[in-house]
């Protein structure tokens, strides 16, 4: 008798809470079906694909220079990572070697992009826990980085810095000076933001929330700051240096934390901000003189790229980004395959979310810094039939193993 009543009560108390695709905590649409009992999350179903745009398909129908434009628009936050990764693969296929200065400039923009991305995440994190002031403060600091972008590349968001065989814009000494000045500013601001995050009200919301053990992190193949916060020490910049990271190897270290909770993931990003300020300063100090590209028209360079394939990877702000590029020997692509960091990270959400409270859901989702415009592009696995296939978390996991 008692048992029966309990079961009924349970059924009454648990109900399905749809989070998304349109939800203020998610700046981008994705769907979480959360089964809750009072405040506790019992089960999560993840659904991606709302912003799937078929970029791989489009890239295969365009020439290489148009594809650069397209890959830049995969994501507005890590646009430089995407083009760098793509162009590295093309240069590998074509046997082109960009000049040293171009590599340093790529690295510089890369790290500035990481600064803007991490500051953005810290601001969004503050917004999710209802701390508007910190959000405003962080985003005000981020504007300074965007100003730098505007001065160096001409754009705030899509920098269009990379071309085949080099970069588009050179850095004047005045810009370099300003960059160093802004980096000093950012360092001071980041220190203050770090103090904010270490303060009691924020730490209370973040620590112990969304635990991901080192074992799980390893099993689920998570990448980037999410992995590094769970005790995995892995960074493409150190382990497989690209651009100028080989030369700058001594100027930074890989940040890793053992705790594996949302607070650790946030802290890793804050500490990475300090590291990247070092990288920017070292890159500017050692910036070699010389040309910034191969001095040939990109169209001619594009035509010179033979048939072939290459894999390229970079450490985007959110983690390891992998491009597989197969050129067709003309000026187009035969196959483009992109594995974005968010796709690797988003499956770990299920592990983190189960057992938490409703109030923790936005915090946890933000803590992996999902960039769904990246991840959703890849949801379509079945590209031959042109069928839009929505992959849920279980299927994704099966695909992984």
């Amino acid at each position: 008798m008692v048992n029966e009543r309990e079961v009924k009560y349970d059924e009454f108390a648990r109900f399905i809470l749809p989070v998304g695709p349109v939800h203020p905590a998610l700046k981008e649409p994705f769907h979480l079906k959360i089964i809750v009992k009072r405040e506790e999350v019992l089960d999560v179903e993840l659904r991606l694909g709302h912003v799937h745009r078929g970029i791989e398909f489009l890239a295969e129908n365009r020439n290489l220079i148009q594809a650069i434009y397209l890959t830049e628009r995969i994501c507005g936050i890590c646009s430089h990572s995407h083009t760098t990764c793509f162009i590295q693969a093309l240069e590998e296929v074509g046997g082109l070697k960009p000049p040293e200065r171009a590599l340093y400039l790529r690295t510089l923009i890369f790290e500035l992009e990481r600064a803007h991305s991490h500051l953005l995440l810290l601001g969004i994190m503050a917004y999710q826990i209802g701390f508007d002031t910190l959000f405003m403060y962080t985003w005000a600091a981020r504007e300074k980085v965007l100003d730098l972008f505007e001065e160096i590349t001409g754009n705030r968001i899509h920098h269009a810095m990379n071309v085949i065989g080099g970069v588009r814009w050179d850095l004047t000494p005045k810009m370099a000076e300003k960059t160093i000045r802004v980096m000093k500013d950012i360092e001071v601001t980041t220190r203050r933001i770090y103090d904010f995050f270490r303060g009691e009200t924020v730490e209370k919301r973040l620590s112990g929330v969304g635990l991901l053990s080192q074992h799980d992190a390893h099993e689920l193949c998570v990448v980037g700051p999410t992995a590094r916060a769970s005790g995995l020490v892995f960074d493409v910049r150190k382990d497989d240096p690209y651009a100028a990271y080989g030369d700058l190897n001594d100027s930074f270290s890989v940040i890793s934390k053992k705790e594996g909770d949302s607070y650790a993931r946030t802290e890793v990003r804050i500490l990475e901000l300090f590291e990247l300020i070092n990288i920017v300063q070292a890159a500017l100090d050692r910036l070699p003189n010389g040309p910034i590209n191969l001095g040939e028209s990109p169209v001619r360079l594009m035509r010179r790229i033979p048939r072939g394939e290459a894999i390229s990877r970079v450490e985007a702000p959110r983690g390891e980004l992998i491009y597989f590029v197969k050129t067709n020997g003309g000026d187009g692509l035969e196959r483009l395959k992109i594995r974005t960091p968010t796709l690797a990270n988003i499956i770990s959400l299920k592990k983190m979310l189960i057992g938490c409270e409703i109030a923790d859901v936005p915090v946890i989702v933000t803590s992996i810094d999902p960039c769904l415009s990246c991840a959703n592009r890849i949801t379509l696995v079945d590209h031959e039939t042109g069928e839009v296939k929505v992959v849920n978390a279980d299927e994704l996991r099966r695909k992984k193993s």
Binding site: L17, Q128, G130, F131, D132, T201, V202, A359
Partner: protein, 316 residues
């Protein structure tokens, strides 16, 4: 009967003042974030705009409750704010009006969540359960602190009697007795939860439950709910100031400068109370989780309120 007429006359005044208070709150909040912020009359724009907007009732909603609750919420909180204001102007009171005011303010916040939960939206239901939990958290210390101070001032449950007691004893109550000081602190701590702002806006958290109970409301209904919230803020800060910090000099002002001066001083004082208890916390704190908020209230204000009650019974 005269009291009733004054009460009716104060209703528009409450409407104006509570929206003005909200505007000042938003402006100061923005300035603290180094923004320019909206104009001070922004809440009036918002209110009028919402009033002339289309009203949508979702098909899943329990129609009658959904439609009735915003009006009830707004009416009870406006009357709850008008009674103390009218008493201040008329310098009189009715037996038990303090209890009535507290009841109306609680009623208003309950009506908001009842309306939200009748909308048929799961977020409204989550907001409802969160609000009820919050009510248990803050309502008890809030009421105990009021009881404690009414014992000190009489004992009397007439709002104006408490003010009279402060004028007679030549000191504001919070300065005069330890018990009242504790009660004042409890009351101030409870304000931000009672009006539901960060860090205690848990039932209406935008990023978690999408405004919770307010999610399905639109147009005039939403305007009324917003009005209910801002007049609750006004009423509670007015109560906090006049019950605990009514310095006798404020009364003496009326002898020199007329009654308007007394009223103005009270409003200025309650503005300060609002800035301290509503604007400041919502600028410098992050939102708490429901469990943390509940614990916060049961570990600090509740023991404080009980201590204050015991002290005031003992005569401290």
């Amino acid at each position: 009967m005269i009291a009733l007429e004054i009460l009716l006359a104060t209703l528009p005044l409450v409407f104006l003042l509570s929206l003005l208070f909200e505007g000042i709150d938003r402006k100061v909040h923005a300035r603290m974030q180094r923004r320019i912020g909206p104009p001070i009359i922004q809440p009036f724009y918002d209110f009028i705009k919402l009033l002339v907007k289309e009203n949508i009732v979702p098909t899943t909603a329990a129609r009658s409750i959904f439609n009735a609750s915003p009006s009830l919420a707004a009416a009870s909180s406006i009357v709850g704010a008008a009674i103390p204001l009218a008493n201040l102007i008329a310098r009189t009171g009715i037996i038990g009006d303090l209890i009535l005011v507290m009841y109306l303010l609680t009623m208003s916040s309950i009506m908001i969540v009842v309306g939200g939960s009748s909308s048929g939206n799961p977020y409204g239901a989550v907001g409802f359960s969160r609000k009820i939990m919050m009510l248990i958290g803050y309502e008890i210390p809030l009421l105990i602190s009021v009881v404690s101070i009414s014992i000190k001032a009489g004992p009397s449950l007439i709002y104006y009697d408490i003010i009279l007691a402060q004028i007679k004893s030549d000191k504001c109550l919070a300065c005069a007795y330890i018990s009242s000081a504790t009660a004042a602190l409890t009351f101030l701590l409870c304000i931000s939860a009672a009006v539901g702002v960060v860090p205690f806006d848990i039932p209406e958290a935008k990023t978690e439950v999408i405004h919770g109970p307010l999610i399905e409301y639109s147009g005039p209904q939403l305007a009324l709910l917003k009005l209910a919230k801002s007049s609750t803020i006004f009423s509670l800060s007015l109560l906090a100031f006049t019950l605990f910090f009514y310095f006798p000099t404020i009364y003496e002002l009326s002898i020199v400068l007329g009654e308007i001066a007394t009223l103005g001083a009270c409003l200025l004082g309650s503005l300060m109370v609002m800035l301290l208890t509503v604007t400041l916390p919502r600028t410098v704190f992050a939102r708490l989780k429901i469990g943390q908020a509940f614990k916060t209230y049961w570990f600090f204000p509740l023991p404080m309120a009980i201590t204050s009650l015991m002290l005031s019974v003992l005569g401290w």
